[in-house]
Symmetry: C2
Subunit: 344 residues, 2 copies
C-alpha cells in the first residue's frame, strides 16, 4: 500500500538491486555504470547514477572485498599500548600517512600494555582480514602468530622485537642510547646515579637499563643497582620513584629515566626541589628544548615511516628473510645536565 514508488521491499539500506530496479536495468549494468567500467551507454549511466543518488546508495565495501579477493581488506592494523602517549601517536601518525598514500587505512587499537588485550585485539584484527599487522607487543612470545604469518600476512614489530617468530621489526638502538646517556653523566662527574624504569618485563627497558648499568660498571661503579627503581609505568609511579630516590641518604646526583612518561614524572618532582639532581631522559619531549632537559632523542614518526616501508614492500611481494631496522638515537645535551654533582 505504502511502498509504491521507490519500493524498497527489503528494509535497511538500498543495494545494487534497488538501484538497478529503479533505473530499469540489470544489477550488473548498475554495477558497471557506478564503477565506471567500459561499455555502458551514456544514457544508461546517467539513469543509474540518478537512481543511486535518489536512493542514497552507498557501495558495501565488505561485500565487494568478500567477492573480489575473498580474503583481504585495505586495512592495516596497529596494535599498541597507549595512543595517548606522544610516542605512539607520532608513530601512528607517520605510519598512517604512508599507508594512506598507498590506499590503505590504519586501524589502531590500544592494549593498555595488557598481554591479554593484545591477544584478543590482534585476533579481532586478523579476523577482519587486515592486510598487514604492526605490533608494539607487550607479550613475551609470538609463536601464536606463526600460522597467520605462514599464510602470508606481513607482521612488523615496532620498538620491541618478536620472539619465536621470524618477522620484520623496526627498533631503536637502545644499547647505544643508554650508553650515550651513561657516558654523558659520567663525563660530568656523576657517580651516584638514580635509574627509573618502566615495567621490568618489557625488553626495551631491560636493554636500556642493562646497557646503562654496564657502562657505569665499566667505569668502576659496581653497585649501580642500589639506585635502580623499576615498574614505574605511569607518571604518578614515576613521581613516587623519583621522590624515593631523592629522600635517600645520600641522594643520587643525577637521574636517568627510561622513557618520556617517566621523565615527565621526574620533572614534576624536580621542579620544586631546592637542589635538583641532573636529569637525562630517554625519548624527546614535546617542548624539550624549552624545558631545557637533556634527552636521548629519536624520531617516532620516522619509525612509523620505516615500518610502513617494510610492510609495503612485503605487500609488494618481497619474500626475503626478516629484516630488522635499528634506528639510531641522538644525545641532545641541555640544561638539565649542566648541573654539577653537588655533594648531597
Amino acid at each position: 500500500m505504502t511502498e509504491d514508488e521507490l519500493g524498497p521491499t527489503r528494509p535497511g539500506r538500498p543495494g545494487l538491486v534497488e538501484v538497478a530496479a529503479l533505473a530499469g536495468v540489470s544489477v550488473k549494468t548498475a554495477s558497471r555504470a557506478l564503477n565506471g567500467e567500459g561499455y555502458v551507454a551514456h544514457d544508461t549511466r546517467r539513469r543509474v547514477q540518478q537512481a543511486a543518488d535518489r536512493l542514497g546508495y552507498r557501495l558495501n565495501g565488505m561485500a565487494r572485498e568478500l567477492r573480489r579477493s575473498g580474503n583481504t581488506s585495505t586495512l592495516v592494523g596497529l596494535v599498541g599500548g597507549d595512543l595517548g602517549n606522544p610516542f605512539y601517536s607520532k608513530l601512528a601518525s607517520g605510519l598512517e600517512r604512508e599507508v594512506r598514500l598507498h590506499g590503505l587505512q590504519l586501524v589502531t587499537v590500544n592494549t593498555d600494555e595488557d598481554p591479554q588485550s593484545e591477544e584478543r585485539l590482534t585476533g579481532a584484527l586478523l579476523e577482519r582480514r587486515v592486510r598487514a599487522l604492526v605490533i608494539v607487543s607487550t607479550l613475551p612470545g609470538h609463536r601464536h602468530l606463526a600460522a597467520e604469518h605462514r599464510h602470508g600476512i606481513p607482521f612488523v614489530f615496532v620498538d620491541r622485537p618478536p620472539t619465536g617468530l621470524a618477522a620484520d621489526a623496526v627498533l631503536l638502538d637502545n644499547d647505544g642510547g643508554a650508553r650515550q646517556a651513561a657516558t654523558h653523566l659520567l663525563e660530568h662527574g656523576h657517580t651516584r646515579i638514580g635509574i627509573v624504569g618502566d615495567f621490568s618485563r618489557l625488553r626495551t627497558h631491560q636493554e636500556r637499563i642493562t646497557s646503562f648499568g654496564a657502562t657505569l660498571r665499566d667505569a668502576g661503579i659496581a653497585d649501580w643497582r642500589d639506585y635502580l627503581l623499576e615498574d614505574a609505568h605511569d607518571v604518578a609511579a614515576a613521581q613516587r620513584a623519583v621522590t624515593d630516590l631523592l629522600d635517600r641518604d645520600p641522594p643520587p646526583t643525577a637521574i636517568f629515566t627510561t622513557n618520556n612518561r617517566i621523565t615527565t614524572g621526574a620533572l614534576r618532582v624536580l621542579r620544586g626541589h631546592p637542589c635538583p639532581p641532573a636529569l637525562i631522559g630517554f625519548d624527546e619531549l614535546d617542548l624539550g628544548d624549552i624545558l631545557d632537559v637533556t634527552v636521548i632523542a629519536h624520531e617516532p614518526e620516522n619509525m612509523g615511516r620505516q615500518t610502513a616501508r617494510l610492510l609495503l614492500e612485503r605487500l609488494d611481494g618481497y619474500t626475503g628473510p626478516p629484516r630488522w631496522v635499528i634506528l639510531p638515537t641522538r644525545l641532545i645535551p641541555r640544561g638539565s645536565t649542566r648541573r654539577l654533582p653537588a655533594r648531597g
Copy 2:
C-alpha cells in the same frame, strides 16, 4: 597427486569448508563448534577444533558480518586533522577506550585539514559500513551526509559543529574561554594584545578570536584587530607570526594564541627574548605546569568520552533530536601572565 591429506582444493586461506571436511562434519556443525553454540557433542567439538588449529583457520569477519547484519560492522570511524597533535590523540584515546569497552573498534583517518581528503575518507569509511562516524570537520558544510544520516548512521561532530545537518556534537565553550583569556589579560593591565590564530576558515578559531576581540572592544580597545594575525596553522608559521608581532613598534605587551600548536611556536620565540610579552594560550600543554604558561584548559580525553556517550546512546536506539554538548574551559593562571605590561 600432491594435495591428498589436507586437500585444500582452493588456494588461499582455509575456510569453514576445509575445516569441516577435515573434521568429517558439515559446515554448519563446524561453525557451531567453533562459535560455542549449544548442542555439539564434546567429541565433535574437539575434532573440529583440532582441524581448525591444524589448518590455521581464522574466521572471516567480513563474511560473518555481511551475513549477520548485511549492513554494519563493529567499526567506529574517526575523521580528524592530525593524529600527531596531542589534542587529537587524546581525544582519540578517550573515544577509543569507551567504544572498545562496548566491543567496537576505532578506525582513525587523517585529513591533514584538507577538505577534499575529508570527503574522500569519510566516503571510504561509510563504504566500509562503520557503525558510527565521528568527525572533526574542516568542511564548511555537511549536507552531503544527509542521506547517510537518514539511513540511521549516527554522526557526532567534535570541536567544530555541523552545518546544514542536524547531528550531535561535542564542542568547547570557545566563547567563554576566549573571554576568560581576554579578561585575565585586561585585569593585568594589558591593552596592546597580539592575537595569533589558526586557519581563519575554521569556525572554532573564528569564535575564539571574535569573543576575545569583543571583550577587548567592550573594554575600550577599539583597534584590537591591529595586532591580529591569522592562518598560522603550523608551528613554523606561528613562530613567524609572533616574531612579526614582536618586531612592531610598539610591540604588544601580551599575546593570545588560539591553540596548542601556536602556543608552542610562541614559546619558542619568547624563550630567547630579552623582555618577553605575557602569554596565554588556548589548550593545555603537555607539561604546561612546568613550562609555567597560562592556559585556557579543557580535557580532550573527556571530549572523547562524551563523544562516545552520545554515539553509543544513538546505537542503543535513542532517536531524539540532536544534542550538542558544550564543555567548559578553565583558566589556569601561571607565570607567563604574571609579567607586567612593561612599556615596549
